[in-house]
């Protein structure tokens, strides 16, 4: 046992010395490998954490949202819809929602304006997201002027700035009273942006949606399960964001592993030839190459994963945030709750370490089985 450990330690010693002889080449190899693992791990952590946040946040979404479409666009829902929908059996509550967007000409930002009755907001006051506070340099007690439909200002006193921990929901939000909302946009009194419908039995949701759609052919009911599935598919590996990053990382890794698998350099072949001629056996050479693969891939894998964790959960994924930011003036800081489990880590391990180590050992096995004289002359 002690002899086996000693043998492995000796071969590892030789491997490290051999890797350090070609220091620049091997360090750049580890750096590229680390970058690929870092990108893949960051993506996996980011997507898993967002999926979890989506599930938790959307748990509070309405059972069903009913929109009205006119000429292919979403239109305001008349009060008559509310009255009739609330009479459908199974429906326990119908709440008109008042929300929309406000383009701030001062800084080019888009705010989401929402009227809230529960918790009630006093007329003339507003609660704002941390992004709005930052963009307009506002604090509690300050006045936020919004331009009304007739170009006159509506002055709102900031009652609260929402904590940055709620950025993922409300970074761009201005929550005001229904009266202020209607006054700001000249919003008709008997209409709503859409309706939030609560249904007693979740199993009846699709039946109620079918009834609404047949009663109001211009309506579009959106179920909570559909909202949740929209986000699950958004963060699915086939989703736009994931697919682009996953494909880039995997293709670079395939090119990288392919380069290793297609053959050894003349210098490496010569080294194998010399080792065999001084008495190393094929198994020793393979062990040497195995350790070489382990040193490079394990270092890159462990460091890449730990760095990715720090990137996503401590630094709020600045790499991905930039991609999502686009031309947004306000964007959230992704303070995500970490989601990592053994399944994620083993997938990452089998996607990166196993193919690389195999790709290193296979060409060496071919080189190690040939005559040392031929290998040295190569």
């Amino acid at each position: 046992m002690k002899r086996t450990v000693e043998r492995h330690l000796n071969i590892l010693e030789f491997t490290l010395a051999s890797l350090l002889r070609r220091r620049a080449k091997n360090l750049s190899l580890v750096a590229i490998y680390l970058l690929v693992v870092f990108l893949l791990a960051s993506l996996q952590f980011f997507v898993s954490a967002l999926k979890r946040e989506a599930t938790l946040i959307l748990h509070d979404a309405p059972d069903m949202v009913v929109q009205r479409l006119m000429a292919g666009r979403q239109d305001l829902v008349p009060a008559a819809y509310l009255t009739e929908i609330s009479q459908i059996s199974g429906v326990t509550a119908v709440r008109p929602r008042l929300w929309g967007y406000y383009y701030d000409q001062l800084n080019g930002a888009n705010y989401t304006l929402m009227a809230s009755e529960d918790p009630p907001v006093t007329s003339g006051h507003a609660s704002i997201g941390s992004g709005v506070a930052k963009a307009r340099n506002l604090a509690v007690g300050d006045l936020l002027p919004l331009i009304r439909y007739d170009n006159t200002p509506l002055m709102l006193e900031i009652g609260a700035v929402l904590p940055s921990s709620s950025d993922l929901v409300a970074v761009d939000m201005i929550i005001i009273s229904p009266e202020d909302f209607r006054m700001l946009f000249n919003f008709p009194a008997d209409q709503a942006t859409d309706l939030a419908v609560t249904v007693r039995n979740p199993k009846e949701l699709s039946t109620v949606a079918a009834k609404i759609a047949s009663q109001f052919p211009d309506s579009r009911p959106i179920l909570k399960s559909e909202i949740q599935r929209t986000y699950q598919s958004l963060f699915d590996w086939r989703g736009g964001m994931t697919l682009i990053l996953l494909a880039t990382s995997l293709i670079s890794f395939i090119i990288f592993a392919w380069d290793k698998a297609t053959g050894l350099s003349a210098e490496e072949r010569k080294e194998i030839g010399i080792l065999k001629s001084i008495g190393w056996e094929t198994s020793d050479v393979l062990l040497l190459k195995f350790w070489e693969g382990v040193v490079v891939s394990l270092t890159a894998f462990l460091l890449g994963t730990v760095l990715a964790y720090g990137h996503v959960f401590f630094l709020s994924a600045p790499l991905f945030a930039q991609a999502l930011k686009g031309w947004s003036v306000i964007y959230p800081r992704f303070q995500l709750v970490p989601v990592v489990n053994a399944y994620h880590l083993s997938i990452l391990f089998f996607l990166t370490v196993v193919p690389y180590t195999t790709a290193t050992v296979l060409p060496c096995w071919r080189a190690a089985t040939i005559d040392p004289d031929a290998a040295m002359r190569y």
Partner: protein, 94 residues
């Protein structure tokens, strides 16, 4: 100290950090910092991932053809529009 032992010690330290990740994640999930009470009652339907276009701010509320809705030749011009896909209609409304 032998170079091989140095490497093994370095790997052991990295492995310890690596194995701490799921433990840290579990701990963070049990003690969430995120306090959503103020926005919970708003019954929001979407996460705020991008704020540059309405169909990427509220993808669940947007139409399938929202990126092209502005005029017949309006092609997608918001970067987040290529990352956040529009909602896929999953249920046929009768």
């Amino acid at each position: 100290m032998r170079r091989s032992l140095q490497f093994l010690l370095f790997t052991a330290a990295s492995l310890t950090l690596f194995l701490m990740l799921p433990l840290h994640a579990r701990h963070a999930q049990q003690h969430p910092v995120v306090e959503m009470a103020q926005v919970r009652n708003l019954h929001v339907t979407d996460l705020c991932l991008a704020t540059e276009a309405r169909y990427t701010r509220h993808p669940a509320m947007a139409d399938r053809h929202a990126p092209f809705q502005e005029h017949p030749l309006a092609l997608e011009h918001f970067p987040s529009g290529s990352l956040i896909l529009p909602a896929i209609p999953l249920r046929e409304t009768p």
